[in-house]
Each structure stands twice: as structure tokens, then as C-alpha cells.
């Protein structure tokens, strides 16, 4: 009988308890003695051929018979009331099939009531005003220009500090501070902690607003068949989109189907239901034809989310030997116009180091700018930059090696819960990383800057290149959680199909799930297919975010494969008339000492006509007595050109601990990708909003600078690769977000080391470097 229990889960720095139904028998993670054929092997992506041939159909590529296109009219003002809207001229344009606005669309509450699908108040430049549905995209675009909107401009505020002032205009009716109060965490006695300190270092750090710029923009295709709605959506959470659509449109769940086959990046920005999806559904309803709405690059950069800017006042107290006595963070986060899921900027301050007295206070503030969304390790990238920069300053003041200082304050338990970590390989990551990097040699000189300058040029020559090194640490969840379900079907021909409702957002989920099933079943991986990305498959799996897909869905797949294997053995023993215990399955063949030669599974199952084996698996609850986290350390070497201000990252060494590695090949792509995104964030990515108009001036890829092929440093990395037997039945934890967390901090520390001056604000642009150098 299924048992309902409570389990604790951590998702992107937020901890909560939830009920979970436990069923079936548990499995323990493979031990070191178990020979593994697929787990831990470099398996190329099983869907690689589709992706390299152009055959993979992304949402952007879906074309249905009779399909119309939708284009959204967006607010040119940061804050305004729509006095009137006249769509008649647009409607008369040949080829226009419908124009939707607040005048004719249902008033649907969005983002927990902070806005409506079409609101009469627009709260940022880019807010949705109307949508034209037309035969061709070009016609829809033409029609947008024919819509006449009269706005009453309202006072606006763009800066979060200004927005907190009492005289600031209200972005949301309830005020500009999310929930009306800061989010506070406290442990120990902060005052006592600071009074025990021999040294207190206090600084203010600023991080920029970064844009995801997924290459496939956000968008959906909606199709009605009778009263049933099918939506193709570029989403990280098909079941979340289904639930949202059903609720907003008043549909039962079984009448809504959401499909996501391939997707061109999400990075957290596609975690939930978008207005464009609902508008496409309404447009399809109104016209009786399928409707496609894909945002263009500019809309993507206005309305599809961002990593919010932060201001972090950070104060640390330490004894002379480096022992931390107190840590205080006051963070202000610029949420933009709407926010239902604030990033946890204080996470690293609360968790990374052993410190008895800690207080974090976060003000998430509404402004008249584009709304934030999750962005790969939300909050932790920002928080780690500040904390790890300040740790370096502290080390400098105390004349302690930065790595030594971190080891001095190593936390063996999770101080937010008092639980020991299930496994923690951070010490090993530090040690292996330092060795790979050559940290000791590079930092041993009493005057590291001078020492490194020598490496920049020949003796006597005026050095125009400064070299520097720095490092930073990472903590993140990545534990995975229930509920997640899978079935494994064994077909009569000896092939098997894994079915689950997760989605592969480019991380290699499909391949990893095939490996897990092949391993457990004893089948060749070529005989496994994986069906995901469709709510109609019926098996819930959580959103692909929080580095939790493998650790959530993988264990369910293994359990399902295990159950299927048990059934197969039951059946085979009877068909072959051999003792069940004597049977083994390897490489898709059944063998037994009682058999002359191995028998193909196909030969057994085909005797049973179309009998089909179906194994079920459900993700087990998380352990109650331990904290399950991921860890890592990165080391950076940079050169700074003192004449141009250009920072070149020469190399990054990374060592991470995410438990067992299932596929070193796809994992290495995650690590490199995270580091490269972190590099862009450290050096050049930044949304720029015009102070006078609220307009984003670089809402395109020309002026919003992403890393290119020419910016890539040498990347060396290793995994601790030790199975976490308490985490789940795979021993694996997530790796999607960990690699981006420490990169900017490590680069900033290396730049500070090179310059001998610290810059407290990201990104480290040439302008800032040159300004800093003038102060020398």
C-alpha cells in the first residue's frame, strides 16, 4: 500500500517540506564492487543525430496546417495607464484574423495577481498591451503599427534603492517591497559575534542585471481540437504549464496537453507559464486555427526574465587566526515589475562557511523594469561574488593565504539545519584544484602582484600586462526531490522504452536516463528509447531546474527498470523452465547454467504474443537526517591589459563534487558551459536601462555582449566523483548550476590580485578597470 510521508526538499536556496507518497521497494546505490557497463561511461548523446542534421523539431520549428502567427504590442512606457486602445485599423488589414487586448480578452490574473494577461496598467517598457493574430508574421507586424493606444503616463521608478523610499511611486499597489517586509534569516548573536572579532571588514558589492538570451526565444504554438487544447511550448516544465493553463482557462487537466520535444536553452527563464502561451491559446480559440507566438530577440530581452541586479552590504568579523565570528548581509534585489520567486542571495553567506553568528536580510524590490526570473543558480552566483570577494579581502588584511582562510572556516555540517552533509567533497576539491592550478607556486611569493607582473614581461621592460590569480568556492543544492515517476516498458522484440514526464533542456537528460535503464535492465543502450517532454505520457516529473533532473527522475527510472527486470525474470524462468535465481541478464541476453546457450529476450517474449512488461518507479523521499548538497572550487588566472583595460581569462581550473558521475561527456559540457556563462557575467554581460525613459538600450545581441569563440580560456576540470549513497539510489547529484556559481568570484579575485585594487561591481568592464588603474 502506498505510504504518505513528509520530506524536506531544497530548491534554489528555498527549503520546504512536502508530502510524498512512497511505494515499492527501495534500491541502494551501486557499490564500488558492482561492475557497471553504462553508468560512468562517456556515452554520446542519443539524440545527437537529430540535433546535428536539423531534424530535431524545436517549438520554433512547429508548423501546423492553417497555422497563424501572433505578434505582441508592448508598452513603450515604463509606467502608464492605457486610456484607450483602438484596434479597428489593424483589424481591417487584409490577413489579420484577430486582435486581442484587455477590451476583448478575459481578465486573467497573472503572477499571483501582480498583473493581468492584458493589464490596463503597464509597468515596464515591454509589458504586454495587445496581440495581433494574422496569416503571416509580416502582416501581424504591419498591423501592430496600426493599433492606436493612448497612454496616461504615470510616475516611474527604475532604481531599487529609490523605489524603497517612501515618496517613490508604487510599482505594485501593495508597495514596492515584496511581501511588505525583508526576508530575514538569523542564527546566533550577531552583536556578540562582531564584538569577538579582531578584525571587521565591511564592503558594498553591486552586481548587474544579466539577460538569459536563450538562442531559442520563448514561445508557444496552440491548437484546439474540440474542447481539448494542445500546446507546444519552449518550457522547462511541461506539467507546470499544463497546470497553469488549466487553471487560467478553466479547463480540466485531461483536456490540456503540453509538449516540448527539443528546446533551445532555458537557463531558468522558462520555468513557468508565459503570457504568450495563454495569448496563443486564446488567439487559437478566437480564430479556430492553430496560433504560433515566438518572441523576437528584442522582446526576449525585455519580457522574458533576467538575473536581477543586486546591491549587497556585506560585513564579516574574524579573529586574528582567520576564524569567522560574524557575518551580516543586507541585500537589495531589483525584482522588476513582478516577482513571485525571489532569488536567495543570502544562501552562500548562510551555508558556505562555519560561522555561529549570521544574519541575512533581503529586500526584493519592485521597479518599473522587466521582471526577473530564475537564471542558473539564482542568487548564489550574485551572493558568491560578494562573499568570496570579501573573504579574499579578509585574507589580505590578515595576511593569510585565501585558500587557507577558506579551509580554516570549513563547515562539516549544514548550519541552517544542524544536519551533517551526506557527503562533502569540498576539501578535496580545494586540494585537487590547487594542485592542478599550481596555486602554491603562484601565490607563494610574499608580494604576489610583483611576482606575477614579472611573468607579464621581460625584466626591465615596462609591463603593460598584469597577471593575477584568484579562487572561489561553491555550494548549491542539486539534491533532487520527489515526486517523479517513470515506467519502463519491455517490448516483445526485446527493446525497452523509458517513459517519464521530464524534459531535456539541452543537458543530456535523455541520454542519461537511457544509461540508467540500460544498466539496470542489462540491455544494450541501443535497445532503449526514452519518451519525455509530453504531459500526455501521463507520468509527472518536476521542472528541469535547480540542478535536480537527474537526481529526481533518474532514481524513478532505475526503480522502474528494476521492476521491469524482475517481471522479465519471472516470465523468462517460466518460459525457459529454469530456476529464476539461476537467470542473469547481460547485453540483452538471458543466461543460466541450466541453459546450453544464452537466449535472446525477444525469443522469450515472442512466445507470449503481445505481452508487455511494464515496470513502475517513483522517486523515493529525501533522507531526513542529512543535508544533501553539491560543492566545488574554481581557480582563475587572468591577464589585465593596463593600456586597454581588457581582462583576458587565461585559464580556469575547476573541481566539483556532485556525487557520482553518470556521463562524463555530457557532464563536461555542463561544466564548461557554466564556466563560460560565468565568464560572460564577470566581464561583459549587462542590461543597460536608460535612466530617463526606462528603455533597455541593449536588448539585442549586438550590444548585449555574450562570450564568443574568441573569449574562451583554457578550462581544466575534474570531478570528485564519489557516489553519495544517502542522496538517492544513483548516488548522483545535479551539476547544471554548480559550475556557474564560483566563476565570476574567482575571476574578480584574480583581477583584484592582478591590479592590487578591488573593483566591487560587476561586470569588470574595461572602463572600470581603467578607472581603477588611474587611482594607482
Amino acid at each position: 500500500m502506498p505510504k504518505v510521508i513528509k520530506t524536506r526538499t531544497e530548491f534554489e536556496g528555498h527549503v520546504f517540506e512536502e508530502y510524498v507518497v512512497v511505494e515499492g521497494e527501495g534500491l541502494s546505490a551501486w557499490d564500488a564492487q558492482t561492475p557497471l557497463r553504462y553508468i560512468g561511461r562517456q556515452i554520446p548523446r542519443t539524440d545527437g543525430p537529430e540535433r546535428v542534421t536539423g531534424k530535431a523539431v524545436y517549438t520554433f520549428d512547429v508548423q501546423l496546417p492553417g497555422m497563424l502567427y501572433g505578434k505582441i504590442l508592448r508598452s513603450p512606457h515604463p509606467h502608464a495607464r492605457i486610456k484607450s486602445i483602438n484596434t479597428q485599423r489593424a483589424e481591417r488589414l487584409p490577413g489579420v484574423r484577430a486582435v486581442l487586448s484587455f477590451k476583448n480578452a478575459p481578465k486573467l490574473s497573472f503572477r499571483q495577481g501582480q498583473t493581468f494577461l492584458f493589464d490596463e496598467i503597464v509597468r515596464y517598457v515591454g509589458d504586454e498591451v495587445a496581440c495581433v493574430i494574422a496569416d503571416e508574421e509580416e502582416i501581424a507586424e504591419d498591423a501592430l503599427e496600426l493599433i492606436e493606444v493612448e497612454y496616461e503616463r504615470l510616475p516611474f521608478v527604475l532604481d531599487p534603492e529609490e523605489a524603497l523610499r517612501p515618496e517613490a511611486p508604487n510599482v505594485q499597489p501593495s508597495g514596492n517591497l515584496l511581501n511588505g517586509k525583508p526576508d530575514i534569516y538569523e542564527r546566533g548573536d550577531l552583536d556578540r559575534g562582531f564584538s569577538q572579532a579582531d578584525l571587521i571588514v565591511e564592503r558594498t558589492f553591486r552586481t548587474q542585471c544579466a539577460l538569459h538570451n536563450c538562442l531559442e526565444t520563448h514561445g508557444s504554438v496552440a491548437l484546439w481540437e474540440g474542447d481539448a487544447l494542445t500546446v507546444w511550448d519552449s518550457t522547462q516544465h511541461i506539467f507546470g504549464v499544463r497546470a497553469g493553463l488549466a487553471q487560467l482557462l478553466g479547463l480540466p487537466l485531461h483536456k490540456v496537453r503540453v509538449i516540448k520535444r527539443y528546446m533551445g536553452g532555458g537557463f531558468g527563464s522558462k520555468n513557468g507559464l508565459g503570457k504568450y502561451t495563454v495569448i496563443a491559446a486564446l488567439g487559437a480559440k478566437a480564430t479556430g486555427r492553430p496560433v504560433k507566438i515566438m518572441l523576437d530577440r528584442h522582446e526576449e530581452n525585455l519580457a522574458a526574465g533576467n538575473r536581477p541586479s543586486t546591491i549587497q552590504h556585506l560585513k564579516v568579523g574574524a579573529r586574528r587566526d582567520g576564524t569567522l565570528t560574524a557575518l551580516e548581509l543586507k541585500a537589495i534585489v531589483n525584482a522588476g515589475a513582478f516577482c513571485t520567486w525571489p532569488p536567495s542571495v543570502g544562501g552562500p553567506a548562510r551555508q558556505l562557511y562555519l560561522c555561529p553568528n549570521v544574519k541575512t536580510e533581503q529586500y526584493t524590490v519592485f521597479t518599473n523594469t522587466g521582471p526577473l526570473s530564475a537564471f542558473r543558480a539564482p542568487g548564489y552566483v550574485e551572493g558568491t561574488f560578494a562573499l568570496e570577494s570579501l573573504m579574499d579581502e579578509l585574507a589580505h588584511e590578515l595576511k593569510i593565504d585565501p585558500l587557507e582562510l577558506r579551509l580554516k572556516n570549513y563547515a562539516e555540517i549544514d548550519q541552517t539545519t544542524g544536519r551533517p552533509y551526506s557527503t562533502k567533497g569540498l576539501r578535496e576539491a580545494y586540494e585537487r584544484g590547487a594542485k592542478l592550478f599550481g596555486w602554491k607556486a603562484l601565490t607563494s611569493n610574499p608580494s604576489p602582484v610583483a611576482h606575477l607582473r614579472e611573468r607579464g614581461g621581460a625584466v626591465g621592460e615596462r609591463a603593460t600586462k598584469l597577471r593575477g590569480v584568484g579562487m572561489a568556492s561553491q555550494i548549491w543544492s542539486g539534491n533532487g526531490m520527489p515526486p517523479a515517476y517513470a515506467i519502463v516498458k519491455i517490448n516483445p522484440d526485446g527493446t525497452a522504452t523509458v517513459v517519464t514526464g521530464t524534459q531535456d533542456i539541452g543537458t543530456g537528460t535523455k541520454t542519461v536516463l537511457a544509461q540508467i535503464a540500460a544498466e539496470e535492465l542489462g540491455f544494450p543502450i541501443e535497445k532503449i528509447s526514452v519518451e519525455i517532454g509530453d504531459t500526455q505520457l501521463g507520468l509527472y516529473a518536476p521542472l528541469s531546474a535547480g540542478s535536480m533532473t537527474v537526481a529526481s527522475v533518474g532514481p524513478a527510472v532505475r526503480l522502474a527498470a528494476h521492476e521491469a527486470r524482475q517481471q522479465l525474470l519471472d516470465v523468462a524462468a517460466q518460459v525457459l523452465e529454469v530456476p529464476r535465481e539461476s537467470l542473469a541478464i547481460c547485453d540483452g541476453l538471458l543466461s543460466s547454467p541450466a541453459l546450453k546457450e544464452a537466449v535472446a529476450i525477444k525469443d522469450v517474449l515472442e512466445k507470449l504474443e503481445n505481452f508487455m512488461i511494464i515496470g513502475r518507479g517513483a522517486r523515493e523521499p529525501n533522507p531526513e537526517d542529512v543535508a544533501v548538497n553539491t560543492f566545488g572550487a574554481q581557480f582563475a588566472e587572468v591577464t589585465v591589459d593596463t593600456e586597454t583595460g581588457e581582462v583576458k581569462v587565461e585559464r580556469i581550473v575547476a573541481v566539483h563534487d556532485s556525487g557520482r558521475v553518470i556521463n562524463p561527456l555530457t557532464l563536461s559540457s555542463q561544466i564548461e558551459g557554466g564556466i563560460i556563462q560565468g565568464l560572460g557575467y564577470a566581464l561583459f554581460e549587462q542590461r543597460v536601462v536608460d535612466r530617463n525613459t526606462g528603455v533597455v538600450v541593449n536588448d539585442n545581441l549586438e550590444n548585449y555582449k555574450l562570450p564568443t569563440a574568441l573569449d574562451i580560456p583554457e578550462i581544466v576540470f575534474e570531478m570528485v566523483d564519489r557516489p553519495d549513497h544517502r542522496a538517492n539510489n544513483l548516488g548522483a547529484k545535479g551539476v547544471g548550476e554548480p559550475p556557474i556559481i564560483p566563476t565570476a568570484a574567482a575571476i574578480a579575485n584574480a583581477v583584484a590580485n592582478a591590479l592590487g585594487i578591488r573593483i566591487y561591481e560587476l561586470p569588470l568592464t574595461r572602463e572600470k578597470i581603467l578607472k581603477a588603474l588611474k587611482r594607482v
Binding site: 546535428v52 508548423q63 533551445g264 533542456i505 563536461s668 559540457s669 539585442n700
Partner: protein, 176 residues
Amino acid sequence: MATKAVRPKKRKIAVRGPGKTPIKLIVNGETHELLVEPRRTLLDALRKDLGLTGTKRACDEGTCGACTVLLDGKPIYACMALALECEGRSIETVEGLARNGKLHPIQAAFIEEDALQCGFCTPGQIMSVKALLDENPNPTLEDVKRAVSGNLCRCGAYPKIFKAALRAAELLRSGS
């Protein structure tokens, strides 16, 4: 920071339109007759009129390289060319690389090296590498970096794209 600006050379073309006009496009060696508005880009003609959605639209303004195709053997951004300008010229897209169900060595190398994550920039990357290797069968790492410097990859597959390009060059040289 795209550094490689690639645009087709402007050629004199007869005034056509307004409204849809018939054109012939030669794509992957096959001639297609279609009816498009003069303002239709080569990218949209490939994707919408010919159903060749392997060439991706990510910015539609010549800043990302996802729509890279070969026009008379040279890599161009298909979003920056009008379909009309390409009439009668040889257009090569990612769909034309695999022959008789066998992957092109560049495609095989991309899979083996895992030179892709979400895969959305991949067709463009592959076409840029194809243009490079057609011209220079023995490229250096720097050559490869320059060749794909106009192709953004948000997932950060660059290190593996470099490896895949060099591996593909090797495969092609050895004739496999």
C-alpha cells in the same frame, strides 16, 4: 562580440512586388519554385516556404549566426539576405550534409565530441565549420576559432566545437 560580419554581395536585381512574386531557389542541389513577398528573407523562405527548419532563427538581424548557410560556398547569415537576392545561386543548408543516411564527418564529430548542448546554434556552427574546411582542410585552432566567431553559443559548447572541427578536419583528410 561577433567579429565576423558576413553578408552576401549586393547584386542588381529587378524590381518585383509588391505582393508575392515567383522565385526559384536552388537548395542542396534541388530547384524549388516558390511564391514569396519580396521582403521575405532567405531564412524565412527556407523555414516557412520550404519547411527546412534546420536553419534556425534566433535574432533575425545578423547578430548570432544561428541561421548560417552557404551561398555559393560562402557562409552567410540567411536572415540578412532576401530570398530574391539568392535566386539561381547555390544554397547549402544543414539538411544537405548527410548523404544516403550517412552523417557528414563534421556532424559525426559534433556528436562524438559532444559539441552541442541545446543544439539550437548547432546547424549554424556546423555550416561555418563546413565553409572553413571546404577552403582550408588543415586548419589550426586559431583558424577554427575565427571561423565560428560569428556563431554565438549560449550554452557554451565552444571548447568542444573547436575539438569537433579539428577532428572533422582529420576525418575528412583521412577520407573517412
